[in-house]
Every structure is written in C-alpha cells, then in structure tokens.
C-alpha cells in the first residue's frame, strides 16, 4: 500500500516562535508589563533581536541565561532595585509570579502604586524587568540550568543578595509557578485531537442498491481549538490512514533512538 502523499505546501508545522512574546498571551485583563510603556515595549523589541544567540555560556557582562545582551528593562530593574525595600520587593515579586501564572494583577498593582512612593514609570520598569527575568529563567529546563549559574548571573547584574535568594526560590524552589494550564504552557501548536468518536455501519440497502452490504466508518473528531469535524472514511482510505499512522509511529521510534537526540544541551 502506498504511503500517503507528503504535504506539498505544508503549514508552519510545529511553529517554534522566532520572535518572543513580551506579554503573557491569552491572559485577558492580566497586567501586561511589557506593553505598559512604549519605552519598555521597544526595549523588549531590542531584547528580542539580541536573543537567540546562545543561552549558554556564563561569565562576562551580558552573558548567562539572558543571552549576550541583557534586555534593557532587566537592567533598568536591577538599577531600580537598589532603592527598593524588601517588603515592596516581595510584593512586586508576588505580582510578577501571579502574572506568570496568568492571573489578573490589575488590583494588586494599583495597591502597590498607592502604598509606595514609586512612580508609575519606576513600577513599570520594575515589574516588566522582573517578569522578563523570571520568564527567561523558567524557559530553561531544570536538568541543565543550575541554581549556582542563575545566582552568578544575577550577581553580575548587581541585584542585591537577599533579592537573589527570593528569585532563586521562585525558579528552583517550591514557589516555581505551576506549569500546567498556565500562561507558561501556552504552546504555539496546531490543534490536537481532544475527542475521537466513531461508528462502523453496514449499509444493507440504499435508494440506488437493493443489496449493498457495504461497510463504512463514520468519524467525529473534536479538536482542541473547538472545531468538530464529522466525516465518512471509506474503508480503503481507513486502511491508508492506519498504515500512515503506523509508519509515523515507527519513524518516531527510530528518531528517538537516534543520536540526534543526544545533541548536547
């Protein structure tokens, strides 16, 4: 049996984002740090350009997990943190973690703005800087990203020692934002099958054939983006589908065994 035709004009399959999102996607009403000020947005844009050039490598100004060029808002945050008290910092950190988890933070930010003497601009830089810092740190898998390296990088940025401890506990400790079902797991992907229902019928008789005796398969596929597709699968096409799926599975198995997966992190 032939394998199915390869896709000619394939979609952007498994789009791995070339650009970065500077704001939590899909968190409606959530406080979007990077868009609060045009300056911060532009800084994020520059940061996007500077990224993707190796996240490994420690030491040296601008090295470390943030890439060769530290995003401007992170630097601004690091400077602003010198004058921020521990209490305020802890509140800011809490707001940032909530934003990472996709929760609405407008209220808490307003409260902080009212109760401290930080200007709106300072607040924007602080929160957007902390958000970017934490989000980049959380992107890296824990298997390869170690706490010492993280602390080193933060020391390079001249962030006060106590604050480094707090940051660490968010990334490595128990306060790590839950990854399931939050803004952090907003995967850019094509829809997946959420539910598959099927039935096998045998048409005994139709308006055109007194004795048809033709089996047919009806499939109802519900996808993760909410669309539902109901269609008939002729028996021959079903065999082709089954063959192709088995073929992909075999190729996946081969792929997972091959040395390409031993690419060094």
């Amino acid at each position: 049996m032939r394998s199915g035709p390869g896709m000619r004009a394939g979609p952007a399959a498994a789009p791995s984002g070339a650009g970065r999102h500077s704001a939590p996607a899909g968190a409606d009403g959530g406080w979007r740090p990077a868009r609060a000020r045009p300056g911060a947005a532009m800084a994020a844009g520059r940061a996007a350009a500077g990224h993707g050039q190796g996240e490994s490598g420690h030491g040296g100004r601008g090295g470390g997990f943030l890439g060769p060029r530290v995003p401007a808002e992170v630097e601004a945050m690091a400077r602003a943190l010198q004058d921020v008290g521990k209490e305020t910092f802890r509140r800011l950190l809490k707001v940032t973690v909530n934003a990472l988890e996709g929760k609405d933070c407008k209220e808490s930010v307003k409260q902080i703005a009212e109760s401290t003497d930080l200007s709106e601009e300072q607040l924007a830089f602080l929160i957007s800087g902390m958000y970017t810092l934490l989000r980049e740190a959380l992107r890296l898998p824990l298997s390869t990203f170690k706490q010492e390296a993280f602390k080193e990088d933060l020391k390079e940025l001249r962030i006060p020692e106590d604050f480094i401890v707090d940051f660490s506990s968010v990334v490595f400790g128990k306060r790590r934002p839950a990854s399931e079902g939050t803004a952090l797991l907003q995967r850019s992907r094509l829809p997946s099958v959420q539910d598959l229902r099927w039935r096998v019928d045998v048409a005994i008789s139709t308006s055109s054939l007194a004795r048809a005796l033709q089996p047919s398969i009806l499939m109802m596929m519900k996808l993760s983006d909410g669309t539902a597709h109901r269609f008939e699968v002729p028996v021959a096409k079903f065999q082709e589908l089954r063959y192709n799926v088995a073929l992909i599975l075999k190729e996946m198995n081969d792929l997972e065994k091959r040395s390409i997966l031993k690419i060094q992190d």
Binding site: P191, L196, V200
Partner: protein
C-alpha cells in the same frame, strides 16, 4: 418471475416507441456514456452543445430527446438497483416491446460496464463530508516561545475532507505528540477489529 423492473407506464411506452425509431448505429455509444456518468448525481450527462448534436443525430425534438435520455437512465438505474444479469435485463426490455437489436445493445453495454457501475454506486455515501486525502509531516520541535531545549517529536496530520456540495477540499491539520499519536493508533486498531469481525 419477479415483478417487472421497468413498469409499463405511458411515458415509458412513449419512450420505447421513440427509442425503436432511433438509428441503432449510435446507440451503444450513448449507452456507455450514460453508464459512465450514472453515479454522479448532480451532473447531467450532456452539455447544451452535445444535446443539440444528439437532437440532430437521432432526429428528435428537444422534449423527446430528454424523455429518451431520462428513460434510458432510469432503466440503467433499475438494473443497478436490482443487480440484474445482462440476460434478464434484455428479457425485461423485450417484454416492454423494445426492439431486439436495442435490447441486445443494452445487454452488451451492461455486461461490459455493469459491475463497475454497481461498485461506484456502492462507494457513494450519504454523508456530505468524506475523507479524501491523507498527508503527514514528522517534525522535531527544538524550542518554542515558552520553553527552550525541547527535542520533542511531533507529527502533523493533514486530512483532506471533501464537501459534497462545494467540491473543495477542506484541509484539517492535527498535531500529535508521540503519546497522543499512540492513543490515536489504538483507536484505529479498535475500529479495525470491528471491521474484521464483520467478515
């Protein structure tokens, strides 16, 4: 003998007399052309120009030509429905007073293309949407906006679903991880087991 496959109504009688008058030379080609397009519901077998040519060739008026074409199609559809053998088809036609040469033409055209036509009717489905094409792509996702250093194999399945009315192919893209694809495959295996139990 079972009930007659072709009823003897007025229009049938009129059509038969018209058919008997038609020149038998071109008749077999007409039959095979009609058989080819029989299973296509919406298309009429002949275009405007072709109908005009037929009118001239068979020296029939427009109305009469339509009646003849419809009757021949009806006879063929009945043959499909009852899965007639060529011999019984010929017998049925002769019993409604169709000339022998025409009845023989029917029988031989049916003997040649009958089974194929029946098969095409078998494949016809009532549901508006049917799976037509299957394509796929296997990718190794290295990273995404929210996670770096992934190395996760992902498969994308492209299902081409045809819509009976619009004739355009709707492409449905579905993405699977290894685990998801394995579950999908298990479901397909269950369906296959059901199909096997039918035979």
């Amino acid at each position: 003998m079972a009930a007659p496959v072709v009823p003897e109504s007025d229009s049938i009688r009129r059509a038969v007399s018209l058919l008997n008058a038609v020149d038998p030379g071109r008749f077999p080609r007409l039959l095979s052309r009609l058989l080819q397009k029989l299973h296509l519901k919406t298309e009429s077998s002949f275009s405007e120009e072709e109908e005009e040519k037929l009118q001239i060739a068979f020296s029939l008026e427009k109305q009469d030509l339509h009646l003849v074409l419809e009757t021949v199609s009806f006879i063929l559809e009945q043959a499909v429905y009852h899965n007639l053998k060529p011999a019984s088809l010929q017998q049925q036609l002769q019993s409604i007073h169709l000339d022998q040469d025409k009845a023989e033409a029917f029988a031989s055209a049916w003997a040649v293309a009958g089974q194929d036509t029946i098969e095409k009717f078998r494949q016809r489905v009532l549901t508006p949407q049917k799976l037509e094409t299957i394509g796929w792509q296997l990718n190794l996702q290295m990273a995404e906006s929210m996670q770096a250093k992934l190395k996760s194999p992902r498969a994308v399945l492209e299902l081409g679903v045809s819509n009976e009315d619009s004739k355009t192919l709707k492409k449905v893209f579905v993405e699977f991880s290894h685990q998801e694809l394995f579950e999908f495959y298990n479901k397909l295996e269950t369906i296959q087991a059901q199909l096997d139990s039918l035979t």
